[in-house]
């Protein structure tokens, strides 16, 4: 209990308090503390990438082992990840541990000619989903829905160059919608998120929220 609960909670409280207090202490010691801590955070973040990679590969290994729906796609995750790791380590034609050259490597070739087009293709499918979603959901069923529909049409039309060629009114109307009603809504959401984040931080700092330790929040 001491090692699993009390000590982690004390570390969180002390470090959280120090991170908060040093913002208001203009002393060289405080600045040195911040520099040291941020360096440590970055080192821990680097290890986090390994945990992420392990978690991803573990999840896909389980899918393959259990022959879950679509397990064949998980094979491609291994193929892609291991293939790129090997290419990166071999670093042809400059050899392992060679510095990054300006003229490129086999790894660079695969990145530019496989990963970049594949990534761009997947993202461009979003246009089709958005078109389909707009077609199905923008229905003027009531006043609220009609307002949303009207705003969407004005912004969609106002954001293309063709609208400015017809009249300046269209882009201006789109800008008004983005700068006033949109801004008001976004600011409200932003304030809500910020207050929620402060509240959650205080709960973690004072040990009320303990779910990050595992085993529930009791």
């Amino acid at each position: 209990m001491l090692y699993k609960r009390a000590i982690p909670l004390i570390i969180v409280f002390v470090m959280g308090l120090l991170a908060f207090v040093h913002e208001f202490v203009p002393h060289p010691l405080s600045a040195a503390f911040r520099e040291e801590m941020t360096t440590w955070f970055r080192i821990i973040g680097g290890f986090g990438m390994f945990i992420g990679l392990y978690s991803l590969l573990h999840m896909h290994a389980t899918r393959i082992r259990r022959k879950q729906l679509g397990w064949g796609y998980s094979l491609f995750v291994f193929l892609g990840a291991l293939g790129m790791i090997v290419l990166g380590l071999v670093n042809e034609p400059h050899g392992p541990l060679g510095s990054a050259p300006e003229d490129g490597t086999v790894f660079d070739w695969f990145y530019m000619n496989v990963q970049v087009p594949c990534g761009a293709t997947i993202f461009s499918l979003l246009a089709f989903f958005m078109a389909s979603a707009a077609f199905r959901t923008f229905r003027a069923r009531n006043l609220d829905a009609a307002l949303l529909l009207g705003a969407a049409v004005i912004v969609m039309f106002g954001r293309i160059p063709l609208s400015a060629m017809i009249s300046d009114v269209f882009p201006q109307a789109a800008d008004v919608l983005l700068e006033y009603p949109n801004l008001a809504a976004k600011r409200g959401i932003l304030l809500g998120i910020s207050l929620g984040a402060i509240s959650q931080s205080l709960r973690i700092l004072f040990g009320i929220e303990r779910s990050y330790l595992g085993g529930g929040s009791e």
Binding site: R42, A131, V153, F157
Partner: protein, 279 residues
């Protein structure tokens, strides 16, 4: 007689028809060369004007925080920005917070530097990637050369001519963040508000509305939104490229979606009216 099965079948057919129409419209407009006049938006012009106002030789930090999935939207504006910076004789310091974006950044920097005849380490520096996000920014605010002791090519940043007079983020007057995620907010909270530089932003079109509150509060001096933002900037620097070329296809796609939405609403209105009369 409308049954749930029939409704589902109709919806599936409608979805496929929408996909097909959109694909045909985009492919046809892309294949047929069409010129479209682009009038830059005031927000794009503000980014251009801020870079124009910088004295030659000033350092400027570009944070290209995206990966291949957002390349089609964000690469064109990054290209235009770097071309402008090199043309103005500024000293670009280029980095990314996205590991998967390093290859794109490298290609971008080397391409624009070659075009402008600039030399790495002398006229610009490519710092590439380090993990840490907000903590990396805080480190850079204390000591940029401490956070990045070497550039991408392994050259020590200490004593590098391109970083002359740049000790930390406080010595960089302007930062431009091009983001596919939440790094613009991070640059505001952990960079601009602490170290006092002017921040401009570029982002995918879906993120742009989220950044309007920061424009009103002057935490951002300008914004390039999506491919349209890239087209605006290419027009402003007088060098049309993929952004401007993509505008006819984007315009046709938007008009098609508006027409489909309007058509669907008219159809629903017409089939509902007789039912109401019957009732």
């Amino acid at each position: 007689m409308s049954t749930p099965e029939a409704d589902l079948r109709r919806a599936a057919i409608a979805r496929r028809v929408v996909y097909l129409l959109l694909a045909v419209a985009i492919v046809a407009t892309t294949l047929v060369p069409t010129e479209m006049k682009v009038v830059p938006s005031p927000l794009s012009r503000k980014v251009y004007d801020r870079l124009e106002a910088m004295p030659a030789g000033s350092p400027i930090l570009f944070s290209f925080d995206y990966d291949p999935s957002s390349k089609e939207e964000l690469y064109p504006m990054s290209l235009a920005l770097l071309r402008h910076a090199f043309r103005r004789g500024l000293r670009p310091i280029v980095m990314t917070h996205w590991l998967n974006g390093v290859g794109l950044c490298k290609e971008l920097v080397e391409r624009t530097a070659k075009e402008a005849g600039k030399e790495s380490g002398q006229d610009f520096v490519f710092l590439a990637y380090k993990p840490g996000g907000s903590n990396l920014l805080l480190n850079m605010g204390e000591s940029l050369k401490g956070a990045f002791d070497k550039d991408f090519y392994g050259k020590p940043t200490e004593g590098m001519p391109a970083l002359k007079g740049v000790g930390s983020l406080r010595d960089i007057p302007v930062v431009v963040g091009i983001a596919a995620g939440g790094t613009t907010e991070m640059l505001i909270a952990y960079g601009r508000d602490r170290f006092g530089f002017d921040l401009g932003a570029g982002c995918t079109a879906v993120i742009a509305p989220d950044l309007y509150p920061f424009l009103q509060s002057d935490q951002l001096f300008g914004l390039l939104g999506g491919l349209r933002g890239a087209a605006d900037y290419e027009t402003l620097i007088g060098r049309p490229d993929t952004g401007v070329k993509g505008m006819p296809a984007q315009s046709v796609a938007h008009i098609l979606i508006i027409a489909l939405v309007a058509g669907a609403n008219v159809y629903v209105f017409l089939i509902r009216r007789p039912r109401r009369k019957e009732a």
